[in-house]
Symmetry: C2
Subunit: 237 residues, 2 copies
Amino acid sequence: MSEGKLILLPNLLDEEGVAEAWLPAAVAASVRSLQGVIVESEKTARRYLRKFLSHEEMARLPLRLLNEHSKSADLEALLEPLLRGECWGLLSDAGLPCIADPGADLVWAAQNRSIQVEAGVGPCSLLLALQLSGLPSQRFAFHGYLPRESALLEKKVEELELFSNKENSTQVCIEAPYRSQKLLDCLIQRLRPTTRLCVAASLTTVREQVVSKQVGAWRSQSVVLGKEPAVFLFFSP
Amino acid sequence: MSEGKLILLPNLLDEEGVAEAWLPAAVAASVRSLQGVIVESEKTARRYLRKFLSHEEMARLPLRLLNEHSKSADLEALLEPLLRGECWGLLSDAGLPCIADPGADLVWAAQNRSIQVEAGVGPCSLLLALQLSGLPSQRFAFHGYLPRESALLEKKVEELELFSNKENSTQVCIEAPYRSQKLLDCLIQRLRPTTRLCVAASLTTVREQVVSKQVGAWRSQSVVLGKEPAVFLFFSP
């Protein structure tokens, strides 16, 4: 086994977040042990790393990009220092690497080259939303983004509701902040009145808003979502 | 809105675990703010609470049970002090409440009575396994326990592999420690050689073992799982 190591660093969900509230103390020591960091974007990564490192330490720490523009061939170059025995971090702009975020291909390549991979604990909006929703979690499915086009979206929502009912499984999806209201309106309109629907927005911030009730109750009292990141969950009993 | 609050406390995955490594410092303050704790089992809960409380504080803290033997009617009694404005915790024997663990019904009842619900951050075996597997996480589905009977299990595994391929979704399941080896053998035997299969066992402990490779490679070199808790993940490209 190579001595190199890849550490999946947990980020906060929001830049306002306080590290002590949401990250174990061990994260600071992990960051200080790194010889480089693979980041989703440089600017956001620097703000995070400054919580744990001095300016001098920051200046010495090489950063490399891995994001939606990266190609498979880039993975080999990123792993090269780890194959030489170095310890690198992987950091998303928010939340956990590899959870609805870049990184899985890099971890797969690392696992298949016997590079040690470690993951730190931090806030994950999907998981917090699932806990706070009160919807069943013995079975659940995360679908990422649903289709944007209205007719396709409506069809997908109805499919997922049938699936939820048949499989006894909570359905979870996300949407870009500026499209959240449209998705919420569609869910309220298309799901059955007895289906349980939760919206969890701006988690871990002072603007956090979690509303969880039956679709029938949503129809009589909805909420206005700002342009905030939100997780949508529903369960058809 | 009621002034009462329900705090979903993160537990460690293993009693050997060190709180500083896996829990934010804020968890200690949360625990100290509680007027009671709803627990999955008393003995395990006391071991956790002792990390944060003195013997005197422990002795004053009421514990109430919520587990697989609880009935719907019990929820009302559990929420009663929160409706009077008290702040209570909810604690699983390991990992996070409400994630493949009891608690969702209580949170649903709390959300529908406008009791404030907060969730703390801690280790979650499903999420750590998904990150460490290197399998795609833009879509994933958690199925809990698969059927025990061999023919039903084989049928289910084949169904889930088709679903993974069609939906581009990583499939995640768990098994009781003493049945882990049987499930692993079945997965290696029934899945296609090109399907990616990961087993993540004893996460966050010194016995942690994560193996992630194609089923073809598993067939030429498998592993022996001890009687350890494990998460199983597969993805059919």
